[in-house]
Symmetry: C2
Subunit: 168 residues, 2 copies
């Protein structure tokens, strides 16, 4: 990185919303663009999905390279690379307190990971096709998953147990 | 805003991940902190939930003030204030293409909004208690909602029709 864009006051204008503009791009636009580049460069294939942690301190990215990667937003540092899926990662979500990450994959599994350590906690098996969306409930105790197999399944996060399956 | 933190090269260090640090706080940390302040200042009561659009160009915020607000990330500009809920907004989510916003509220409804115009498209009624989570499926055609009434409901986004309800 050169000093380009790091110039002084003359290039910095306040916008009505309060965020600063630097040479036609605001600081946050540039920072988020850089973060996207860092994330993309960290995967060996295309990134399919990204999600911010509730505190915006971490970003989780899923990729065709079959990994989920956890990044520190402030520095762009790779915290953990979560390996285990055997197909592209199609969906990721953080739990409300940011402790857990759920990922859904073309391999038909939902995997639950400990965000702080990158450890695989549970692999949730039952879907017959790609898991295209995952979401925690407000307490973080349950995970819902939607799949191209036309079911929505509800799982207990603590045990990985399947609670319900809805045919769509 | 004063010139504090806008200083020159001497205060700017590259970190391994590639994002720049300014006086102990990286640009993105500062920008996200400022964005949070802009969002908080725009609501008349506490913010309960925030979500980025898939492209990271918009942020949706929900609040005890019963509104959902849509913000331009790059400038912190308020785009739309979505009024209609009669209880605190507990959950918000963008559709995968960013065109729709779903919000869940203590008033028991899920509301679907057009992100570009702020127009209310559907108010989804059926939950008997706070709607604590909302999520779109990958195609954006369905919305799942979880509630303190111990049900998960699945809705058709285009029509607002209830497709399924799961007792938890």
């Amino acid at each position: 990185m050169t000093g380009e864009g790091e110039a002084g006051e003359s290039l910095v204008r306040s916008r009505p919303g309060g965020l600063r503009e630097l040479q036609g791009e605001t600081q946050i636009e540039r920072a988020l663009r850089e973060l996207r580049l860092v994330v993309a460069a960290g995967h060996s294939n295309s990134v399919t999905v990204v999600a911010f942690s509730p505190s915006w301190e971490m970003v989780a990215s899923g990729s065709y390279d079959r990994t989920v990667k956890l990044w520190e937003v402030g520095t762009g540092r790779l915290l953990h690379s979560l390996a285990g899926h055997t197909g592209k990662v199609a969906s990721v979500a953080f739990s409300p307190n940011g402790d857990l990450v759920a990922s859904g994959s073309r391999d038909g599994t939902v995997k639950l990971w400990e965000a702080g350590t990158g450890r695989l906690l549970h692999s949730l098996e039952g879907h017959m096709n790609e898991v295209s969306s995952v979401a925690f409930n407000a307490s973080g105790e349950m995970v819902a998953s939607g799949s191209y197999d036309h079911t929505v399944k509800l799982w207990e996060a603590g045990t990985g147990r399947l609670l319900y399956s809805l045919e769509g």
